[in-house]
Symmetry: C2
Subunit: 242 residues, 2 copies
């Protein structure tokens, strides 16, 4: 059977979603729990490789295993998983379902706290204590909407990803008290792309860069220019659409 799962997690304690050498990843924790339940090694395929410290409200992964009641499986997984993870949903899906290849859109959120420091937002938002020109930020956000080669906003070496064109369907900013909440929806995101986009917006908002600078970075991919990779704790994977 192929299972599709939706999981929420606080990324703070982990070296990202994907397994790696010498560091605990969220994937390792999930696979260990699945091994206890199914009594065999199980490999999961995730929709999105969130980085160290990045959170998820609804990450998706799939795996193949023997038959198991989905309600009981959800309960068993949540029993074994630590408190900073929670499986929201388990369903049995068609053998052709693939958590990564079939993604149609992903939505990310980035939270900036522009007010007083807040212990409840520790590792959950970026704190900014200087003034930001929100009109300029909103103008700049419009540049990113549509299909662009986002190579300037990618920390993976050039050779690794051939096609760096991604389409951003929607990018909006909501002010909620002292918080600035950015939501971006697109067909895919390069490594660190959301955080580099937010970094560029911050640079524009504090007049360290002009909108023209950002236009140039988009027009002529240059990996040296857009390097403000903001704190991972402000980033949330919100949803995956298939």
């Amino acid at each position: 059977m192929r299972y599709k799962c939706e999981i929420a997690y606080i990324g703070t304690r982990y070296a990202g979603f994907q397994s790696q050498i010498n560091a605990l990843a969220i994937q390792d924790v999930i696979e260990k729990s699945l091994e206890v339940i199914f009594k065999e090694k199980i490999r999961i395929i995730m929709a999105s490789r969130t980085d160290a410290g990045v959170h998820a409200l609804a990450q998706v992964f799939h795996f193949d295993a023997t038959e198991y009641d989905t309600y009981r499986l959800k309960g068993a997984l949540n029993h074994f998983l630590p408190d900073d993870m929670h499986i929201n949903k388990v369903e049995i899906v068609d053998k052709n379902f693939h958590a990564r290849f079939l993604v149609k859109a992903k939505t990310y959120r980035y939270i900036i706290n522009t007010g007083e420091s807040d212990p409840f937002l520790k590792d959950r938002a970026l704190e900014i204590h200087y003034d930001l020109d929100l009109d300029k930020i909103e103008d700049c956000m419009k540049l990113f909407i549509g299909k662009h080669d986002f190579a300037s906003f990618n920390t993976t070496p050039y050779s690794d990803v051939k096609d760096q064109v991604r389409e951003i369907y929607d990018f909006r900013m909501i002010q909620k008290g002292k918080l600035l909440i950015f939501e971006i929806r697109g067909n895919g995101f390069l490594k660190n792309m959301v955080r580099l986009l937010i970094g560029a917006l911050i640079d524009v908002g504090r007049n360290k860069k002009t909108i023209e600078d950002i236009k140039k970075s988009l027009a002529a991919p240059n990996k040296e220019k857009e390097r403000l990779n903001v704190a991972p704790g402000g980033l949330y994977l919100v949803s995956i659409e298939y």
Copy 2:
């Protein structure tokens, strides 16, 4: 000089605000930081003795010490305090100001998560997985508004608090997605009173008690009847008015 401070904290790691034997209280942590700054033992007086695990968005305390610039004092305190506390405000006040005796009103919030478990709300909300009759809860909330002897909703032994009459100015419930957010404002609260009131509302909402039962508890103080002391992590001291 007399200083008035406003502090936010996550109560999870502490045995409550007030110092006690053999357990770390928030008061101890603040007084230790003040001692480092002022190089003398300083005793603080808090507005509200929040219990173990209870949070605050704006607790107030005062203390007397030598002259110090308030902006620098705020910075120094936040430097020494751990990440789960943050001083929002420091002001110099009149010698007659008293953080506890002069309180005119306090507002508390209680958060219940009625939906899927949420790692981001761990120790920050009460999870309830059974149905609640919200109309009954709202009817019951109205009973508490006004001046009442709340002895049935007090865990302190009878003899310790002579006057158990408190006035509730306002009590409201807001539904926000899967959350039920209760806000209660009154001239004072007895030990565990907010949590016992919320516990009574839950009992009414799930039909374990009737509104008549609660009326009786209010009319004839009885410390055996209202004992559902809900999780401290759902409780927030929101503001203190002088």
